[in-house]
Subunit: 391 residues, 4 copies
């Protein structure tokens, strides 16, 4: 059952974990603190290293500049050391353009040129950090927008955004990429400056050849056909990568495949249908917010789920499918497609893990390792600070 | 132009403001602090009093138990004094069933009976506070739910909820009401225990005759016909009141009528179409989160907008409309209906204000009063604590 | 692998096929005629009989009164004969309250009492037909509503609807049921008189004890948690049955499980979680519109997919799951739940079929039988009438 | 009150009516025939002429090739004569790529090259018709897509589409334009080949400089900020025009502004905010389906509503607004913006009509003219053919 297609697929599949996925997060209504949550960049690296040790599939960790490297480039040596110590490397670099009080009415498209300059400076610093760390990708999430009709000029904000992204792109080196994310709403509730893939694509092209589009699977209106957008971005050679998560309503940031696993399978199918050359640079990244699940359990579960869904997609008999599609043999095509989805790949993935010297069941091994309990003991007091109690 | 219908409508229109609407709020991505935001229950009363002084239409302020009365019933004398000093009364009492760490997996429908007991105790305390303050309404927002399929038993949680609400209802006095709110998602992202009006209605009936349904206009799936739900709740004598706000996407908590003013008009039309007896107890309350707009400006604007939209709805010629509806004269009925919506009631509302000794233009008077600047000077340092800076 | 749970589940699983599912259908933009589509009630029975012969799981066929029994009760002997000849029985009876020109502005809630009387008469005739055929269920889909705000009185239409349903219920015999369907929009585009489960539940209760709610899985706003509604309807003993289909956008009437198979699994899980007594009357029915897929292929595929997803749901270890839910062991509960979903039940279902003397692969057997080709030859000329050509 | 801005705006505002808007239409559940509906191209021209005579704002009528000119270019002289007789000119030309049986699995992106060639031929014929009629715009609505995951290759269909559009563009003359429409779903229910503005923009650019994007206001996922898309299309010089209509749920094809008038105002504001040069070619067209409203009444109402909302948008004090936007004076900016929306422009529009020798109240004049009754008398028998009766 561990077919060659599946083995090749699993050998080539890597998914980046986010440093912020190990720290406490919440909703606007509050945060439920976990004793074992990471409270420092070192703890985040330790956790990410453990996930990779268990799964063999997450060798890099995404960093959020303000949260993980508050001293900017000066923090690079520390990160280098953590990479060595914990066996995972720094991955994509994420500027923070939404947290500072200055950004109340926008960062890159704020009407105030001084604030736009702040935003640009932070972007440029992030690019420098990425260079120093050898990180290829700078992932730009622009949270800007407006909350009420008429309160901002949509058009002028486009122009400001273009200007900054062009300048940022000029600062990148040949082997770097700017990934431009889009999102329809939240935290802005009337208009978001980069609301959909069409806007992100325009900006990426305006910025330059090393700018690509970043697809966060939770950033679409309900009903949107995400795999079609993926196919289009591949078609126009502009797919930079993914922030994977799942949702039922809005940007719920749930575990990948937890609500609609068939959709993830379809996304992977589009990628596997494209020429290898078109997809080799595509970055798979997790961007989730586990408010209730245990951080470590959820991250291991996420990586495993991604692997299994990728393996299912790898099993699609694409040659047969193409013929059935050409013949408009709808039911047969659908059955061919779903045969792969319904195949229980778990035994084969387990076999692959054992072949590669990895734990057969990463979640079980995590549990048996006592890692979470130890982390809770070591970090509990630090996390307790954010814990209030009703009693 | 200041027709009798309009005068009567405005004389009878009252809308409650929320204490939390004067304090800093934000999204899960952060909070932009305002220097003039209220930092204490006294400041909230001062602000609410000012809104009422300017509009004459917001004589009560909703209180959030944990935030406004941390000592419970012991805080009642203090509230009494603030009512006197600032000329607004305590309105609905809002228990807090979402903030304590114990509520991570639910409050009233937590699988742990001890936690459910905590939630019940808080409800009972809230009812006691309401009695002591002479507040008719206890507004219950149940934030409980689950984030992932299979992780909780939907059915058993219904039973737990029923049990608690029955007990809480027993504790209310004859002149009190339990208002049960519903919401489809957030902060729970897979299922919310009270997700729609049908669930809230069942629970209200199970609880007892003094339990009614609370409609938050932002708590519906996109596309939902909210005025139809209002008509149904009136039909079954179960409409308790409203939390007004507007939204374009999810529970965006924007200013009433800022995105879809025609919808608010239609809601008011349903209420004005019902027999007066059926609607006299309906509570109009604002529940908004002005993350970017100035708190005071936004609240005055909200009250004024609500007045104007209510005035428009009061102008509908309902007798003529009924005949046109009976005759299925669609275009004529629609034109009759919209004639009221398109009427510019602002001059008439201004005239009504002057007749009642109120400022003709509340927003302008607020600006000229310098109230916000004085508040900022007095409160700025306290609010600065939550302000971080990029520079 | 063919566990006892699975065998019991499959032995007990029956899903009704709709007569109209074998005839040509389309969208408002046109109809693509199929040569093999059924053009008469006899051909529909022949097709339904063939589906049942292949799957062993669809022993009844839903009838649409106007389309299948234009002479009303007088057509009963003919139906009886077809039941005998084709080995499937008449199932639910579906009145038609949307097609007649009189119903332009509504049927049961038309402002014109004469038209409401027409609608009632048709309901009463449908009940008589059902009695004569021994059909338990009359499925009422009320397509009424309005297209523009203000053009109809939402409230008065509720009253008219109540009145008719009470009268209809009185006409039912003890062993009959009225199933009341809800739908948020289409063909009405502003308000639909029975828009959601809360409205349907109220009307069912008003009508009487033999009225229940019918859930069409395509009749919800995007994002709605359908399995939660199922759990609630079971909780209040009001779940009458299902019209199964799938959709990505609106009421797309696609094949069950073709867009979101996990959702169907979750619905079945809620049913299997309820006490057997609460669910024994629940009717499973298909209501799909295969505009492009071959009618027979699609129907066989639908029944097989329903069986397989029901089998998956039957494998959930509900005792273990309940404990994990009680302990709020989220990841473990989810893994327990999904273990059943990911199990490849196809070999076991195939084994069950062989045990029961059924074709191991119904779709393959359909193909090998040449049934569709024969039908096309016999019916092609009749279907060609509706075929126009560009050339 | 009839300010210069408003007069200029009204003098320059023209909106095209669709020939198909005068004929009977319906939903997939049936069609309610109107006695006065147009049954021939002559009657459609007569109706359009009457709408223009009443409003002075709809001098052109959009034609649907297959329905209105079944003989193609040979029908041009007849159309010329109708233009003369009824005082309205042929406007945009609409190919029909969805009705022929050959198009079951697609037209321009059908896997069968012969069918793609049919589609291209029809496009080329439509371009020739447009040339012969002196029509600038060919409006291409591509209804193609697929209903089930895996049944078609999304990617290859993009390539086929590009190929055809490039060829069609080559056939256009310098003063012609191809308008490419997008739509997320219906009649295709899994993927639509041109699903959003990003896809339409790519195809327009691929096709050539005379291809632009056509925005149908009903063709977006719920929640989409349409005015932002308009601003973007203006920014990239690719806005070709609009198909105006309103909706609450899907592509409901309701009267413009009947559900959300504020949204139409915001769209017009974006256009009026752009440089005149950028918007002078933008085509305003109505595309509605009045299944229940009287055809003529609804069309007159649509044109009048569009005029009034355009007039409101013309009143926005854009210089003041820009300053307030720059200052992030949110509440003041919003009040400035909405001051125009809330202004009752009806008296001023009436005055403008009288100045221009038009009926002060087009709807009233239509009623008094007896036009509809006369049309019903003349056309009733022809329309009765499609009327069936329940009785």
């Amino acid at each position: 059952m561990a077919s060659q297609a599946l083995t090749t697929a699993l050998d080539g599949f890597r998914i980046e974990v986010p440093s912020w996925g190990f720290a406490n997060t919440g909703t606007r209504f509050g945060k439920f603190a976990q004793a074992a949550a990471a409270t420092s960049i070192e703890e985040k690296f330790a956790d990410a290293g453990q996930v990779h040790a268990l799964t063999g599939a997450s060798p890099t960790v995404a960093l959020h500049v303000l949260w993980d490297m508050p001293n900017g480039v000066a923090d690079v040596p520390k990160i280098r050391e953590l990479e060595q110590r914990y066996g995972v490397k720094a991955g994509s670099i994420n500027p923070n353009l939404f947290q500072a009080q200055e950004y109340k009415f926008g960062s890159m498209s704020n009407p105030d040129p001084a604030i736009r300059r702040h935003a640009l400076d932070h972007l440029l610093e992030s690019i420098e950090i990425a260079k120093a760390l050898g990180s290829r990708d700078i992932s730009i999430w622009d949270a800007d927008g407006s909350n009420y009709p008429g309160t901002q000029s949509i058009k002028r904000r486009i122009e400001w955004l273009e200007e900054i992204l062009v300048t940022a792109h000029e600062a990148t080196s040949e082997d770097q990429r700017l990934l431009i994310e889009y999102k329809p709403f939240e935290p802005a509730f009337y208009h978001t400056d980069i609301a959909d893939w069409g806007m992100a694509l325009h900006l990426a092209r305006k910025a330059g050849p090393r700018a690509k589009v970043l697809v966060d699977t939770g950033h679409h209106a309900l009903g949107t056909n995400i795999e079609q957008i993926v196919a289009w971005l591949l078609h126009v050679d502009a797919l930079g990568g993914f922030h994977f998560n799942d949702r039922k309503y809005a940007d719920d940031d749930l575990t990948i495949g937890s609500i609609d696993p068939y959709q993830v399978f379809r996304i992977f199918h589009e990628i596997l249908s494209a020429p290898a050359a078109a997809t080799e640079g595509v970055a798979y990244m997790i961007d989730q917010s586990h408010n209730l699940k245990g951080k470590m359990e959820a991250m291991v579960q996420s990586v495993v789920t991604a692997q299994e869904l990728f393996a299912r997609a790898a099993l699609v008999d694409r040659a047969t499918l193409a013929t059935l599609q050409d013949n408009c043999a709808l039911v047969e095509a659908e059955e061919c497609f779903r045969d792969a989805f319904w195949t229980d790949v778990r035994p084969a993935v387990k076999a692959w893990r054992e072949d590669r010297g990895l734990p057969a069941s990463p979640l079980l091994s995590l549990k048996e390792s006592g890692y979470v309990e130890k982390a809770a003991a070591a970090r509990g007091a630090k996390n307790a600070g954010s814990v209030s109690s009703y009693a």
